[in-house]
Symmetry: C2
Subunit: 382 residues, 2 copies
Amino acid sequence: MTDAATASLFRYTYLATDGAARLGRVETAHGPIDTPAFMPVGTAGTVKAMRPEQVAETGAQIVLGNTYHLMLRPGAERIARLGGLRRFMNWPGPVLTDSGGFQVMSLSTLRKLDEDGVTFQSHIDGSRHRLTPERSIEIQHLLGSTITMAFDECTPYPATRDQAAESMHLSMRWAKRSRAAFEQRNGYALFGIVQGGVYEDLRRQSVDALTDIGFDGYAIGGLAVGEPHDEMLRVLESVTPLLPDDRPRYLMGVGRPQDIIAAVARGVDLFDCVMPTRSGRTAQAFTRRGTVNLRNARHADDSRPLDETCDCPCCRDYSRAYLHHLVKAGEMLGPMLLTAHNLQHYQDLMAGLRGAIGEGRLTAFLETRGSEYASGDIPPSA
Amino acid sequence: MTDAATASLFRYTYLATDGAARLGRVETAHGPIDTPAFMPVGTAGTVKAMRPEQVAETGAQIVLGNTYHLMLRPGAERIARLGGLRRFMNWPGPVLTDSGGFQVMSLSTLRKLDEDGVTFQSHIDGSRHRLTPERSIEIQHLLGSTITMAFDECTPYPATRDQAAESMHLSMRWAKRSRAAFEQRNGYALFGIVQGGVYEDLRRQSVDALTDIGFDGYAIGGLAVGEPHDEMLRVLESVTPLLPDDRPRYLMGVGRPQDIIAAVARGVDLFDCVMPTRSGRTAQAFTRRGTVNLRNARHADDSRPLDETCDCPCCRDYSRAYLHHLVKAGEMLGPMLLTAHNLQHYQDLMAGLRGAIGEGRLTAFLETRGSEYASGDIPPSA
């Protein structure tokens, strides 16, 4: 079989566009993904505080796993022996794994980067490990990832032009090695990652390098790392028009609902972020009127649901007063319910975006949602 | 309406007996309870790590709430304003609340006991509180409890005969005041609590005092507080034959599966214990072959389910290796799945006991289960 033939079952098709925004579908070996899509993060083989069937109930079709965490614990070879990550964590749908590069930089200690790869110390037990493009791809293969990410270095922010260029060129050499190491199979995919910091010419060089190599999808990396919102949008506006329009585009690690809305309008298809799950564990809930902190004492006697426009189990069955009580009492059900709500909020947002693109009313949707998010929480009842 | 008329909708009927064991049903204002029954503990208005619908899925028909915890946080008057405990926690079935007496003794500090009641300091914030029989009953009324427990002092173990007698007599005077303070309503119940430590004559006096007052059910208190298993059985054997056979009998705070089996055989109908939920949060799982510690490294590569005889979501969808990973990684899904399994194990045990009593084969059931529980965990696979 040729690469072209085997890759044909991983397919992105767009059904409608509205400006730069695209309504589409990604077909994979493990099921479809309707885009724009948000991928809940299942760092260590679990979307924290959720049973996988509850994740699916929110409408999520794909979850993300972290190569760095899983290689350290329980280990990629172990997961492979146990049937792969999807079976291990009981998630029948597609899984995307990152390459480990980002977490090595943000979590590990005593890092040593060279042309071949990176050596680092585990944040869990201090043990020494090494990641190279070849090993990252091998780990993701062992995990059985539906979508494998090329191994890259995430350029820090801020970075000088020279630093950003050097880092981007290294990532492009690693992208080529990642492609060579990846075993193409039906319905599986390898994504390249555009780097280059906030420098448009570097981003353009990165896109050229990646499209020369050829990937099944293209991610935009090195954003949501501290740069201003407008800077992120400027980079997106310069990058997305350069990307092949028959491949999905993935903005890594983004983000707030407002960021996702803005990126969808600029042609991005896939998103992931720990925000809905992490916020759920710190009593922060996303609503159309902005975030609500359930720890706040003003909720103690509030019999209303968290979000009257949401029909998730958290909003259907419980009062703000109860959620506040769970948070104050340190009860696990608090994070469980708030995580479920936040993931539902994100999935409802994506469904809303898909509907708006399909019906050519994205501009109106953006205006309505934008002003809702800015309007603040529902005032306390009289 | 007379007391007799209003009390008539809370009704215990037994359908079969096998030796001293009883197969029965309790009808309440909030639904039936098939007995012998195990009541999961929802201390602070939540069965820890479980959504209430998941608790119901295990077969549980009634949950327990703790007056001490709920009066301190979020407060009984607040719960009443929010529609009562059942609505607050989204549990449509019956709820039993304890009187607060036991937790005051085990959790609070700076306790001062007098004839009228007990003053104590909250273990949460050091605030001063007072419980009397009247206030305990009022709190349980505010919570909307289906089954209210009389306020008592749980006699410590060990206690001299004089100490046990003094404590029991105080509890009997408080039982009378509890009865007077309780507002009888259709389908709701007040249970008295037999005390007297390990002294059979004191237990008999306590039963006489309570049955003179008249209660809708009778609990056996002051057991599972550190006394040997045989001592507990001896007390049970002396007490249960004295209790009216048309009222449910509740052994408070018990216990291990072996304890429950032994108590059912001696005529007990209702149980509660934190063991399945607490064990679920400390990686201990109940199986027919005894408890399994999922933290143990021997599970790291074990692809088998936790308990091959169990069809709960935890055993149906996950390997021991995955559960071990969740425990090691400190992931919330570990306690969530293990709690669900443990509660399922307890409910399956109760269903097994009910089936055995109904078919007159309790002796055989006890022998089989007893030897299973003693046989130890399934050996690792080859």
